[in-house]
Amino acid sequence: MSTTPSSPLHLAVALDGTGWHPASWREPSARPRDLFTAGYWADLVTEAERGLLDFVTIEDGLGPQSSHLLLPDERTDQVRGRLDAVLIASRVAPLTRHIGLVPTVVATHTEPFHISKAIATLDYVSTGRAGVRVKISARPDEAAHFGRRALPRIDGYESPAARELVSELFDEAADYVEVVRRLWDSWEDDAEIRDVATGRFVDRDKLHYIDFRGPHFSVKGPSITPRPPQGQPLVTALAHWTVPYRLVARQADVGYITPHDTDQARATVAEIRAEQEAAGRAAEPLHVFADLVVFLDDDPAEAAARRDRLDAAAGHPYTGDARIFTGSPDQLADLLEEFRDAGLTGFRLRPAVLGHDLPAITRGLVPELQRRGAFRRTYEADTLRGLLGLSRPANRYAATA
């Protein structure tokens, strides 16, 4: 997708518990006791919508959170436990009107048939604002929750053995996305005919078997749920190296990457665009967003002090895959514009403390970007694809005249 330097940015917020910093739940603005209530999530998404954000993502996993990448822990000083992200998204959908809702699903242990109809249903419930973030799970403890396969223990993602395992899981995720997408298209838009004269409710020639066969699953189709309002809800994925970049390039509408500077951003975008071209998808729109953890205060010194206080409470400095930004909305707007010039089309911000940094985004960063002409002043479309400038795709099974 061609992006001129003046094109507006897209902004998403990643919701996870009380925020991305492990001590965030201890802050005065956090509501840790409300984490398992609908009202908590409704308030967060409503705040994001007040800031005209494109969408929220909702983190999820098939086991408790852990301070280790690939192993469980038994910590009691951090948030543990969460609700199913698809259901949170659906619960808040009728309470919002414009913002996109993108829950996380784990491809490794779930059924593509179930997830396809769940996201299609989220699209109906939100009248065209659904997406999904697909991830894999290489955690042996999560595999043991299902008991269908054993995953070898790996320490980090760098060793050849780890790369091999993760590549396999991404191959499966690629099949998974393929099945989910085919099922969304398995009903043509005008399949429901309600023809009283012949007594036929549907035209069965417009319902399609998807007949997918793969090493991990085979799915016959069609879906039980008609084609959703957007045709194809948004598919997104977080990617840190070549194999997931390929998934993003071949099958996603939005990829999230984690550059720490503009050179890395440029290099990663180039790699994804090359994969996109190799897959014959160069003409199709594909957004690449950078993920950033943010501590935002009008006074940068206050943001830094807050980060220090949280790190002290946690007992160690917070680090992660994404760059951590600490500063004012003004400074963050500068950084986002720099990254945009490196080829990124948007950002998924991870608020360090949701109760503080989410309103700082919607009430501080957004007005600053609007002043610079870099962000919308009103919602300009009714669907999530529309907000991202993506058209409603043709159905792969529809006969072309």
Binding site: L62, D84, K117, F201, R204, L207
Partner: protein, 458 residues
Amino acid sequence: MTKPLKQIHLAAHFPGVNNTTVWSDPRAGSHIEFASFAHFARTAERAKFDFLFLAEGLRLREQGGQIYDLDVVGRPDTFTVLAALAAVTDRLGLTGTINSTFNEPYEVARQFASLDHLSGGRSAWNVVTSWDAFTGENFRRGGFLPQEERYSRAREFLATAGELFDSWRGDEIVADPVTGTFLADAKAGAFVHRGQHFDIHGRFDVPRSPQGRPVIFQAGDSEEGREFAAADADAIFSRYATLEEGQAFHRDVKKRLAKYGRRPDQLLILPAATFVLGDTDAEAEEKAREVRRQQVSGATALKHLEFVWNRDLSSYDPDGPLPDVDPDVGDQHIARGRAQVRMYRDPLATAREWRELAEANNWSIRDLVINTGNRQTFVGSPATVARTIDDFVQADAADGFILVPHITPSGLDEFADKVVPLLQEQGVFRADYEGTTLRDHLGLAHPDAVGGDERAAS
């Protein structure tokens, strides 16, 4: 001494993908847009119903090798639409059918626990089971489950989900920012289950929900299904809605409870019931006849005859006589993905009986299907229907009914406006919700309450 009046439980079944639902009526709206579900749920809540009921099917039905196109086709994902309905209702229970064959306990348990949190304690699970390879073609698991193992898997599935729900007691989250203690118990959610169907261990990640566990429904009617319900369910979605059959079923199931250490009031029996209202009984009867003709078109009549004949009857005239040819009793059935066909255990006898009926009454194929199909459960003026429902419940033919309107989404409106006030006047149905959870509405104890302990000790 007179028996105290039983309070009636009422629920609303969203119109399903079968010929009960009349999609050809000009009033019929969308079966998939959320506005239809929201309208239906709000009507049920306005009428102070106990809960809304949503069915599930995981493969489009086929007949004669083709997708069945005469009924409503297509429906949403159960969990997702129930979670959204929690946003547009405040007290209404939310019951969903979820198959235990094509799911895994960890995922289903976290979905129900999440739904229970997100609805403030209003979730219920109708546990169904299936073995057919036809549906299995849509899933990783495929269709390997032998028929005789479906209840053993369902029971172990439910028991395992119960262990996951119970892996949190409910007092683990302290979230004290001063001491920095979020969890009081480092092992909250720990579980180990080693059984014939599931061998899983680890930690469940959803803290205990308001109801502790969702309310459990069971809908199967076989001997195993009844035992499953007596042992493990809080309510049965039954199909016996006539007075005599209802009483027989009620007696049969309630007497099975003692062996599991349960009291009769710990299992509710709620048959599915259809209804047609009119200003007078005569007008309702006339409307009911018309609805049955709408439900069974000529094309539908032929397809329903095929359930028994198990052959392609498309060349027959639905307004003509029944086929001379006998049913095909081969293994492979012409109708796939349809539980109904198993009701006809002796198709040759059924065919013989139907031919005799048709001859005696001078019925065409369509007449026969209309007349042997289910008549509406309640037909009459609002006063007649209210009285009949009350009579059935007081006579222990049921503890209440799951009403199945034939029009989406407005089919419940008239019942809510005209019948419910009469039941409220009679003092047999709540004038307002007294509690907040579905367990409160159904008069079921919280699993942590004393009743649960008695049962565990037996």
